[in-house]
């Protein structure tokens, strides 16, 4: 009985912290329509601040609470709204998600930069861990009473705010129709800013409360994910109702503690289940709770994508293969390997282009499908041992099929869910997989066989060998991955131009309208999810074998989010967006950060500067992601538009081609380094549209010489005025419009 009571109280305490975090989410979602993935990161950042002022500076707790929860929290929220979130009105769900994801990543990187993750940071309980009372044989700490009281007070307070005050009513109205709010004499931006400030305060409070009860250790990633568990509680209230959110949070807290108390503690199962329980509940709640009906009217968003022509896609694919081959000649062996890794990420990114860019469905866990495929390929496709080990083609095909089947399973909720809810469901699936399968290092006995899903927590994935094609060689691997990317990309372009692609586009714009036209939405969604998952699976197997040894971290939630973010930044509606985004995710940050890391190790004196630069690159990528709100179609769109306008500027194009050829020869003969070549080529490619535009502008505005004016065009007042001006006949003009008649 005493065990039951103890775990019940612990569960209620955990639930109350979840409730505080979740009500902050509900608050911001209801007033701005943005589901804040960065909520956990804000909690984390605030808690680190709290640690800093109490431990490092030795401030008393009450002062720290006033400054951190009372001032820094609201300031952080208000700043977020003013700088980023207010620019997100009228954008698609994926853009809104990506921007908050970018804030999440950026905040985590920033925190790891400021507070070294290798040092221990601990936050103590209020009144100390020793301050406690005993009720009915159960010990309750003061800190836990504070948690419970705060949760109840906040839930009641928010309920009153939302339904019994005009400010709350206006806040709720601002998500429906900001213009109507203006017509009513309110400022919707003020209401939204207030809600962001409040939401951020609640996040910080939840962070400060939860760290001591979950062990006291402060870790940027772990704390961010801990608050993400509160998403499940918010979903209980369908992101609207505060009382139901409160109840959901309590269920979540209790369930987590009962699992610990009553399930057998042998093996990794119970621990893993405890960790993934919130995600399982989130998934279940999403699928079971009644959801919004299909939206009838199409919602116009600010994203614009052009449809690729198959012929153009084929030409560009061939050009890509050629360019990659030529470039690989310049690279050292290690460079080729990294490049190949980037290309495998680009293949995974293609799965997002077809799913999100073409069909408008969301998937926040593309790497999870890669993980499924990798596990299958590892168990069924490896031949030989040691250095002679190879992956066979049957293994890869089986892996792709398995990924497609799992994709179909995940699509089942997608048949009912849209937009944000679907994104959360895929996130829950990815986290569940990462916690249950990729951490499953114990032996299982099933149907007379003994196996381990993820032995030793890591898998050694050998390269593929098909007939004479052996991918052990770096260049062969790179070229195979590139050719695969090109083939899939051309295939997707063909798909998009065909009837199936048009049906997908119709479903994206208006599910209701396309259902009325007799389309089978179930089959469409299921098939596009399976196609996408198969591509992600193929890319995942290749990615694993390019990496060599993969562990849970290779398929982490943050990894998936970073990939998705970079693809959206580049342009998720474009095949080239997948290429650029995937390369950036696979190569970009890894290479830059490790380069700076190596430099820091090599030069002791400059170490701090190089480490700082490495951190800056990471934070910088996140900053780029936050900029998506300004340019939701992605930067590839702008570059393509720039080049499209240059078709008339032939001399500039020829000049650029010649410059490229010269640079390449110089690089091949080692006159300039590979990096110099890559940087100059990249800058030239980016700057070319600008040069072309100024060239075209100059050609267009070159004035007609005075003596030829009016010869081959009608004689207008404007021309007369110019003649007068040039001839010095100003007096005629100044006489109030009296003109010299011809």
């Amino acid at each position: 009985m005493s065990t039951f009571l103890t775990y019940t109280i612990l569960g209620l305490v955990l639930g109350s912290v979840y409730s505080i975090a979740a009500s902050g989410l509900v608050l911001t979602y209801n007033t701005s329509g943005i589901f804040n993935f960065a909520h956990g990161a804000q909690a984390m950042f605030g808690t680190f601040l709290y640690w800093h002022v109490t431990e490092r500076w030795g401030w008393p707790v009450w002062l720290a609470l006033i400054v951190v929860v009372g001032l820094a929290g609201p300031a952080m929220g208000a700043a977020l709204h003013a700088v980023i979130m207010r620019g997100l009105r009228g954008t698609a769900d994926v853009t809104k998600i990506i921007v908050t994801v970018a804030v999440l990543l950026g905040t985590v990187y920033l925190a790891q930069w400021i507070w070294n993750p290798d040092e221990a940071h601990t936050v103590g309980m209020f009144f100390g861990a020793g301050a406690k009372i005993t009720v009915g044989g159960v010990v309750v700490r003061y800190h836990e009473i504070v948690c419970l009281a705060a949760a109840v007070a906040i839930a009641a307070g928010l309920r009153v705010l939302f339904t019994r005050s005009r400010t709350g009513v206006v806040m709720r109205g601002s998500v429906d129709d900001p213009d109507l709010l203006r017509r009513n004499g309110h400022d919707p931006e003020r209401a939204a800013m207030l809600s962001w400030a409040l939401g951020s305060t609640l996040a910080v409070l939840a962070g400060v409360l939860i760290v001591p009860i979950s062990g006291g250790g402060l870790d940027a990633n772990a704390l961010t994910l801990l608050v993400i568990d509160a998403f499940a509680a918010a979903m209980f209230g369908r992101l609207r109702s505060i009382p139901r959110t409160f109840a959901g949070a309590m269920v979540l807290g209790l369930a987590a503690n009962y699992v610990l108390a009553y399930l057998p503690s042998a093996g990794t199962f119970t621990g893993n289940l405890r960790v993934s329980l919130p995600m399982i509940i989130l998934f279940t709640v999403l699928v079971v709770l009644p959801q919004d009906r299909l939206r009838g009217a199409a919602v116009r968003t600010r994203e614009r994508y052009r449809v690729p022509a198959v012929r153009a896609a084929a030409v560009w694919a061939a050009a890509l293969v050629a360019a990659v081959y030529l470039y690989s000649l310049l690279l050292p062996e290690s460079g080729v390997t990294t490049f190949a890794l980037g290309m495998t990420f680009a293949i995974i990114a293609l799965s997002l282009t077809v799913l999100t860019g073409y069909a408008g469905e969301l998937n926040l866990a593309p790497l999870a499908f890669g993980a499924v495929a990798t596990v299958v390929a590892f168990h069924f496709g490896v031949e030989g041992t040691g250095l002679a080990a190879r992956m066979n083609i049957q293994g890869v095909l089986l892996a792709v099929v398995a990924a497609a089947l799992v994709g179909g399973l995940v699509a089942l909720p997608a048949l009912r869910l849209r937009g944000l809810y679907l994104a959360l469901a895929t996130m829950a699936f990815g986290e569940f997989l990462s916690n249950m399968v990729l951490r499953d290092t114990t032996e299982h006995h099933l149907f007379g066989t003994t196996f381990t899903l993820f032995p030793d927590g890591s898998l050694v994935v050998p390269p593929l060998k098909v007939g004479p094609l052996d991918l052990r060689d770096g260049t062969t691997f790179l070229m195979t991955a590139t050719v695969l990317f090109a083939l899939i990309a051309v295939g997707l372009a063909a798909l998009r131009n065909g009837g199936y692609g048009r049906r997908l586009a119709a479903m994206k714009d208006s599910p209701a309208a396309s259902a009325m036209l007799g389309q089978n939405l179930v089959r469409l969604k299921l098939s596009v999810f399976m196609i996408s998952a198969a591509i992600a699976g193929l890319g995942g197997v290749l990615m694993s074998s390019a990496t060599g040894t993969v562990a849970q971290e290779n398929f982490s939630f943050t990894g998936s989010l970073a990939l998705l973010m970079l693809v959206v930044v580049a342009g998720i509606g474009y095949l080239s967006g997948a290429l650029v985004g995937g390369l950036m995710a696979g190569v970009g940050s890894a290479v830059l950060v490790s380069t700076f890391g190596d430099l820091a190790l090599a030069n002791e004196g400059m170490a701090t500067i190089y480490t700082a630069l490495g951190h800056l690159v990471l934070v910088g990528t996140a900053l780029v992601g936050m900029g998506v709100g300004r340019n939701p179609s992605g930067f590839v769109h702008d570059i393509i538009d720039g080049y499209r306008a240059m078709r008339d500027a032939k001399p500039v194009l020829y000049g650029a081609g010649a410059l490229g050829a010269v640079l390449y020869v110089l690089a091949l003969t080692d006159v300039i380094g590979t990096w110099t070549f890559a940087l100059i080529a990249l800058c030239a490619a980016m700057l070319l549209p600008v040069v072309g535009r100024s060239y075209l502008a100059e050609r267009r505005t070159r004035p007609v010489p005075l003596e030829l004016a009016g010869v081959d065009e009608p004689y207008t007042d404007e021309l007369r005025a110019r003649l007068d001006r040039e001839l010095g006949l100003t007096a005629a003009l100044e006489k109030g419009g009296a003109r010299v008649t011809a």
């Binding site: 709720r172 998500v175 203006r182």
Partner: protein, 236 residues
């Protein structure tokens, strides 16, 4: 003709557009105090854009917007509302996820009291009183429009801007709505109505203006404009 009172709301040579596309090419309009001006014309003529400009929701690219003779170019919609310009948008000017009472509460942003608003709204439209705790989005189209119009009843504005009041409503409801508007005008309110279906509003209008392709092509007594309507709608 006697000296006319200075207009309460005036557009002069107003140009406005969306991005590179200009929609209003120099619009002139004047709303006299205590009168009802009907802005007529087919779809795509620029009526709604003109109404948005008047309400302070759309920026001007040229010309002048005047309230009571004072130039107010660039006024924000919330300031316009506080100055006494009550504007009801096309479609339903309500918050669907708030209850009827909460909608009225939101309408007190211009300084009115909730109790007054409720009293006037429920007296005029008793059905709203019965549904005060119902979500506004779950009411019928007519009831939603009544709720939208209630804002004009209770907040005591100087000018009322109505955009397509009749959209999607049964003729009987439309008649009832315009009866309410007519009473408001008798009470001294100045009203600018943009309306596609001229028959609904012409009987109660003091003046009418016909808008085609972003210009006011005719303005004058309703009877004169009515004669031009058929030719401009069908042939113009």
């Amino acid at each position: 003709m006697a000296e006319e009172a200075a207009p309460l709301l005036e557009l002069e040579g107003v140009r406005a557009g969306y991005g590179a596309i200009e929609v209003l090419h120099g619009v002139d309009l004047a709303l006299r105090p205590g009168s009802l001006l009907a802005l007529l014309g087919p779809n795509g003529g620029g009526k709604s854009t003109a109404m948005r400009v008047c309400a302070g929701l759309h920026p001007l690219a040229g010309g002048e917007l005047r309230y009571a003779g004072r130039k107010v170019n660039g006024v924000s919609a919330q300031d316009a509302a506080r100055l006494g310009v009550c504007s009801i948008p096309e479609g339903r000017g309500i918050f669907p996820n708030l209850t009827v009472r909460e909608n009225l509460w939101a309408a007190t942003g211009t300084g009115a009291r909730l109790a007054d608003l409720e009293e006037k709204a429920y007296a005029r439209f008793p059905v709203l009183g019965e549904r005060r705790h119902q979500l506004a989005g779950s009411m019928s189209g007519g009831e939603q429009q009544m709720l939208a119009l209630s804002r004009a009843l209770g907040t005591d504005p100087a000018v009322l801007l109505l955009d397509e009041l009749s959209m999607g409503l049964a003729p009987m409801i439309v008649t009832k709505m315009y009866e309410t508007v007519a009473e408001l005008v008798q009470g001294g309110l100045s009203v600018l109505v943009a309306e596609q279906f001229a028959r609904a509003v012409l009987p109660i209008a003091d003046t009418a203006a016909l808008m085609l392709n972003g210009r006011v092509v005719a303005a004058g007594p309703p009877a004169e404009i009515e004669d031009r309507l058929s030719s401009d709608y069908l042939g113009g």
